[in-house]
């Protein structure tokens, strides 16, 4: 087993573990805002780790650049999505909080 193959396996196992743990934490974590932490962790850490494993296994070239671009898209899209869901949740819960305050 070459060091490169070992690195690929480590990245793949780490990324897969992060994705599965974050998905399972959606069920465990209470409340919508805590679940957003799991979502951002999966998109900014789990998916890029798996894509990095694929890119290292592919080696330098056009295919690796395409994979890294997909990973960057997933990370950027996930970040924007997390912020948008948090904003929508806050806006929709604002009237309920005002009713509770009164």
């Amino acid at each position: 087993m070459t060091p490169r193959h070992l690195l690929v396996l480590v990245l793949l196992v780490a990324g897969t573990a992060v994705l599965v743990l974050t998905a399972l934490s959606l069920v465990v974590l209470p409340g919508p805002y805590l679940r957003l932490h799991a979502l951002s962790c999966a998109t900014s850490l789990g998916a890029p780790l798996v894509v990095l494993a694929l890119a290292v296994d592919t080696g330098p070239g056009r295919a690796a650049v395409t994979l890294l671009a997909i990973g960057a898209l997933l990370a950027a899209g996930g970040t924007v999505t997390t912020m948008a869901i948090g904003r929508a949740t806050a806006l929709l819960e604002e009237p309920e909080r005002e009713e509770l305050a009164q």
């Binding site: 897969t16 599965v20 974050t22 869901i85 929508a88 806006l91």
Partner: protein, 98 residues
């Protein structure tokens, strides 16, 4: 079965099931978290399957999903929440010259 296909099976079974469960219950804004994470996981599964089956063209599905899944979620959030009340009030005030 190689490591890529094994990872795809693990992510598809243990990862997508909680997302679908969360996306099927609760208020609409709470379901969006499950849908968004399911999109990310599906893109990763497509990438892993492409490498596992040695078909690089399958990766195009992941590219399309990486673009369209966040866009779809953003549209959902837009329809759900809309504009903040203060922003709508400010816009209406500026249009009337106030």
């Amino acid at each position: 079965m190689n490591a890529w296909l094994l990872a795809a099976v693990v992510v598809c079974s243990a990862g997508l099931a909680p997302c679908l469960w969360l996306a099927a219950r609760g208020a609409a804004q709470y379901r969006l978290v499950g849908i968004s994470l399911a999109g990310t996981l599906a893109a990763v599964v497509f990438l892993l399957l492409a490498r596992g089956f040695h078909r690089d063209s399958y990766g195009d599905l992941a590219l399309v999903l990486a673009v369209l899944a966040p866009a779809g979620t953003l549209v959902f959030t837009r329809f759900l929440a809309g504009e903040p009340v203060d922003a709508v009030r400010d816009t209406a005030g500026s249009e009337h010259g106030e």
